[in-house]
């Protein structure tokens, strides 16, 4: 499974990948392109990415999460042109208990936002698109 992909994300497949008969909790997060941002009507987002580093960094994040919590975690980030309503990122965490699943899922999406070399250019219904401001990439 490619974790950084131009293909549509499949959150159900991610959930299945972290499922186990021993897991009583499964938490998932799906980020979706929304139609309004800062008062402007959005028609889509173009995701840019330095793919080789993004794939390595995402693998490192997932490995670190599985060391921090007794959980199995999986995630994928979509790149390219996305329309409103399409999923841009998905995370799934399965664990024996819900607390660890929620915590691992939350931690992974927070790390993705500060460590993955990904950028988004919002396209608006009216006017030119713009690159959204981000945070300086965090060293692991």
């Amino acid at each position: 499974m490619r974790r950084v992909t131009r293909a549509r994300l499949d959150p159900a497949a991610l959930a299945a990948a972290v499922s186990s008969p021993k897991h009583g909790g499964l938490a998932a997060f799906v980020g979706v392109v929304r139609s309004v941002h800062a008062g402007r009507r959005v028609k889509g987002i173009e995701y840019d990415c330095f793919i080789p580093l993004a794939e390595r960094e995402l693998a490192r994040i997932l490995s670190q999460a599985e060391k921090k919590w007794p959980a199995r975690v999986e995630a994928a980030h979509r790149i390219g042109a996305l329309r409103v309503g399409e999923a841009s990122v998905a995370v799934a965490a399965g664990s024996m208990h819900r607390a660890e699943a929620f915590e691992a899922c939350r931690w992974v999406i927070d790390e993705i936002k500060t460590r993955l070399p990904v950028w988004k250019k919002e396209k608006y219904v009216k006017g030119e698109g713009r690159w959204l401001p981000g945070c300086s990439i965090r060293h692991r």
């Binding site: 330095f50 580093l53 993705i112 500060t114 950028w119 690159w131």
Partner: protein, 81 residues
């Protein structure tokens, strides 16, 4: 030595395409490479502010020497998700 630096995110708006070539001294650091990139961008040099330099394996600290081979990329502040 001449090195190619790949451009991503807002740096693509500099009008220089997907990458630029810069002249660097031997054993240059990431800081020196970003300074060379800034010089190349001229009046759009502000786009480099807040950027980091990375290989395809890691983000480099400013004081890190750049590896002799492999890809180099200038990374603006990130906003995945």
């Amino acid at each position: 030595m001449t090195r190619t630096i790949e451009l991503y995110g807002r740096l693509r708006d500099a009008g220089l395409g997907d990458s630029v070539k810069v002249e660097l001294p031997a054993a240059a650091t990431a800081r020196q490479a970003l300074a060379a990139l800034k010089k190349t961008l001229g009046r759009k040099s502000g786009l480099v502010d807040g950027c980091s330099l990375a290989t395809d394996e890691d983000v480099l600290l400013a004081s890190d020497p750049i590896p002799a081979k492999g890809r180099l990329a200038a990374l603006p502040p990130v906003c995945g998700g």
